[in-house]
Amino acid sequence: MLYSLCFLLFMVGLYCAVVKKNMVKIVLGILVMEYAVNLFLIMLGYRAGGVAPIVSKEDIVEAGGTLSSMFVAKSVDPLPQALVLTAIVISLGSLALMISICIRTYEKYETFDITEIRRLKG
């Protein structure tokens, strides 16, 4: 059920990116979509009653240097967290580029309204 709420947030972002006329609002819509996807990825790794996957000294079995089985049985999946970290970095770069294009476009056209930025037709 929680996954469908994530999908609802994704749809809200998509609606905003498609329908709105102000360039900055379109950029915010894309940002909300990316947040929704990051949230979905983190929720994938969840395990009920789990702990954060941070290894401390007690979790390492002294004899072999491997992780104790109790830690492995209780910890949340760390792989989606690495995926989300990468996705956040990518969306940061993408946001910076979009904002700088918006600023440059404002300088040339003097408006943020995409219905007036229509020199390319046909």
Partner: protein, 164 residues
Amino acid sequence: MKGMTVIVKTIASWVKILIFLFGIYIIITGHLTPGGGFAGGVIIASSYVLLLLAFGREFAEENMPLGAASRIDCVGALMFAAIAVIGITTGGVFFTNFLYQKYLPGNAMELVSAGTIPLSNIAIGLKVGASLFLIILVLSIFCQDYRCKGNVCEIPGGKEKENN
């Protein structure tokens, strides 16, 4: 950008070094505690952005000029690539953790352990810090060109600014 009041300037000059130190801490113990290269880099960049906001753009630009930030950025990325390539010459494949496997295993959960991962974290922290500060500095340089009176902003004619 002009900078803010005296109170903000005083507190910022004390706090910025603490933020910078905290960022370095998060980068260096990235293999032991949560954080690592990217998070530490963002914190370092935010200490420079505090400088920009509190003291104004010219001061921040003298402190870390555009060219120097751009070069630190490239050097960070090249350091990361160098670590990966040295893995080929000593281990056999790309990105091998050669320090952990051959030369310097160290003990678990201490500062000197996990091979090349702390070095990679430092390289990424440099790069991310320099890049983010560069983005915000360039956007603030661009913003400087507007002369605004109330709601009306005047745009000067066609200067050639680089789209970074």
